[in-house]
């Protein structure tokens, strides 16, 4: 392991040309601090509580080279047409910008690549692209532990590109913004994307981060880390749909800072065949800030899907709602960790969490763990976890009305997932339903 950490350290030094912004002092320092942190901590192992459900063996044993073989002529069949309500779409192929598509972009919306901002507006990024140390976890013991964030440190050091969304004061984005990431990487490579979504006061925006990694059987390692700021009175809906190939390890990481009277909602749908992990850490930093985090995990074959949410209520009268639905078939495995922390003095907090899993095969495994850490007095929290199989009573009821077994199964399974899908903004429902249909047909 130490050996591998050293190898990545050397790789960072050797591949500097791939990493933009090293001519900017603060960004260079950020990267160097991050690689130093990674060199110290390495990838999290099972001794790190947030990572103790499953081991990412390949991460710990394999060495991945930073992806550098960028092609500029792309005709991947994975790139579908831009949706009709999509005001602007940024398309990345293997981590490189291929296109920014829009018809007429309303005023007050700035969407571009990270490298564009580094080149033309680096001052905008300063203090918004955060160091992994800033996100270090505060343990019950008051000890600050940086290890759960070592993927973020790794991403901070190695990111080559990303997207930046900046919505100006009181601007309400019509339709939605899509960040499409298509990956058809070569064997044993890695690619890391660092994005930023910044909403000024009173603005509103819907984003779809659509990640499709089609790597067939080649082992690749990808990550997307996104820093999110929702200013006073603003509202952001940030949704991630993640699909991945059999040997793709993908880690998605969101850090949201949600201020007074603002709202952050997020739905992640994961239907990958490899190993995918989605972490959402949301800090409710102002009074009346609220967040709703939904996850739908669709596991099949030998996939491993992990969802982690951590909501920190730091001010009075804040609200959070977390909902996970997990459907597993064949040999797939999944975990969900839903955490709520209510800081001292954050009275009037309301926090709900529910996690339900549906196991469709004998070998599927799920681990679901709610965790509440409440340091305030006037707090209402609820949490519920259920794990079950398809109900025989329900199956019989449907079949007794003439619905064939296969169709009855589909109806019950999709109704289970619909609890998440029906709650999506209407722009995303069809896409989400399609993911569900593909899940059945694979």
């Amino acid at each position: 392991m130490k050996n591998l950490q050293h190898k990545y350290y050397e790789s960072y030094k050797d591949n500097k040309l791939l990493f933009p912004g090293l001519d900017i002092t603060w960004l260079k320092e950020l990267r160097e601090e991050a690689i130093a942190q990674f060199k110290k901590d390495g990838f999290p192992d099972k001794s790190v509580e947030e990572w103790n459900n499953h081991s990412y063996k390949n991460l710990k044993e394999k060495y991945f080279t930073p992806f550098s073989d960028n092609k500029f002529e792309i005709n991947s069949k994975l790139i579908e047409k831009r949706g009709s309500n999509c005001v602007i779409r940024v398309v990345f192929y293997n981590g490189t910008l291929t296109n920014i598509e829009y018809d007429n972009l309303p005023e007050g919306i700035e969407v571009n690549t990270l490298t564009h901002f580094i080149k033309h507006k680096p001052s905008f990024l300063k203090d918004k692209i955060s160091s992994a140390y800033k996100y270090a976890e505060e343990r019950l013991s008051n000890i600050v532990d940086s290890r759960p964030q070592s993927i973020v440190a790794f991403n901070t050091a190695f990111h080559q590109e990303g997207a930046v969304i900046h919505i100006k004061k009181n601007v309400k984005v019509p339709g939605f913004i899509e960040l499409l990431h298509i990956g058809e990487y070569s064997k044993d490579t890695m690619q890391h994307m660092r994005s930023l979504v910044y909403l000024e006061e009173g603005s509103e925006c819907e984003v779809l981060e659509n990640i499709i990694n089609d790597t067939a059987n080649d082992l690749v390692f990808t990550s997307n880390v996104t820093d999110i700021y929702v200013s006073k009175g603003a509202s952001l809906s940030f949704n991630c749909f993640i699909k991945g190939g059999t040997n793709n390890i993908h880690i998605n990481n969101i850090h949201g800072a949600v201020h007074e009277d603002s709202k952050f909602t997020s739905t992640s749908i994961m239907s990958a065949l490899g190993q995918v992990r989605s972490e959402n850490r949301i800090n409710l930093l102002g009074e009346n800030a609220s967040t709703k985090i939904d996850m739908l995990l669709l596991g099949s074959k030998d996939s491993l899907l992990e969802g982690l949410t951590k909501v920190k209520h730091s001010k009075k009268n804040t609200f959070s709602d977390q909902k996970a639905r997990i459907i597993l078939n064949e040999n797939s495995k999944a975990s969900f960790q839903g955490k709520v922390r209510v800081d001292k003095g954050s009275d009037g907090t309301l926090a709900n969490m529910s996690s339900k899993s549906l196991l469709l095969s004998k070998k599927a495994r799920v681990n679901s763990k709610p965790e509440l850490e409440i340091l305030a007095d006037d707090v209402r929290c609820s949490h519920g976890v259920t794990i079950g199989n398809l109900s025989l009573e329900q199956m019989f009821y449907l079949r007794s009305r003439g619905i064939p077994e296969v169709e009855a199964r589909k109806l019950l399974v999709s109704s289970f997932g619909n609890i998440i899908i029906d709650d999506l903004n209407k722009n995303f429902i069809d896409k989400a339903k399609k993911i569900m249909t593909d899940y059945f047909n694979d």
Partner: protein
């Protein structure tokens, strides 16, 4: 008159416990038969076996439905060929709208019979008509199947499904329990309407009131896993007077 259903010497076990013990029953075309019997005597078990629920071990006996071996048919085949069970305890299905459910069922049955499927408009028209007949508000079309329905609403929804699917053999398992007096009348009228189309029925009940409306042709008493007495409506009256103890004793 041809025979709709003929059960001969049926023995059924659940979890190695013998529940039906030599039950025989014959239902003619268009006949309405009532089955009454003490709690736990096996009425719902019989209903489940007829509808094709798994987990029942048929130890002995035969069931002929319209001349075919019912026990060889899958649950959904039985439904498509006209067997309908109104559940004693209708099942809740969160996330599936009632209209989606009934339409899926109706079209699956039609497909199975080689008929054209109904499109959304045709379906809605039919559903509205049936809901109106049963004096039900259309709100429940969009509600998840039986979720949050009151006891009586669940029973009414069963009858709604029945009239949508217009079966050949309807088994009503205590459909009257939970219904208020007015609802009972409406539901009974709904059932009687289907009888005009030569519906055969098995009505499982504990109460005389439903029978007053449905006027069954025959009344059977099921006790300890078999039919111990068969008669006409006077049997129900006798039962009301003497109770099961009295009747079984008199046997």
């Amino acid at each position: 008159m041809s025979t709709t259903l003929e059960i001969k010497d049926l023995y059924v076990e659940v979890d190695s416990k013998e529940i039906l013990k030599g039950l025989s029953l014959k239902i003619e075309h268009g006949e309405m038969a009532a089955i009454m019997g003490p709690n736990g005597s096996g009425k719902s078990t019989l209903a489940s076996v007829l509808a094709g629920k798994e987990g029942y071990n048929i130890v002995n006996g035969t069931i002929k439905y319209l001349g075919n071996d019912l026990l060889k048919m899958s649950t959904e085949e039985r439904a498509s060929s006209g067997v309908f069970l109104a559940f004693q305890y209708p099942v809740e299905i969160p996330g599936v709208a009632t209209s989606t459910f009934v339409r899926t069922a109706l079209n699956a049955q039609r497909r199975n019979r080689g008929e054209d499927e109904l499109d959304a408009m045709e379906f809605l028209k039919l559903a509205r008509q049936k809901a109106k007949e049963l004096e039900m508000s259309e709100d429940f079309f969009q509600r998840a199947v039986n979720v949050g329905f009151s006891g009586g609403e669940k029973k009414r929804a069963e009858v709604f499904q029945m009239s949508m699917l217009s079966p050949t053999l309807a088994i009503l398992d205590e459909t009257d329990s939970g219904l208020d007096i007015d609802a009972l009348k409406i539901v009974a009228e709904g059932v009687n309407k289907l009888r005009d189309n030569k519906l055969s029925g098995i009505v499982i009940t504990h109460y005389q009131r439903l029978l007053d409306y449905l006027k069954p042709d025959t009344i059977h008493i099921l006790a300890d896993g078999k039919i111990i007495k068969t008669g006409d409506k006077s049997l129900a009256l006798l039962l009301e007077e003497k109770g099961y103890q009295g009747i079984t004793g008199a046997n």
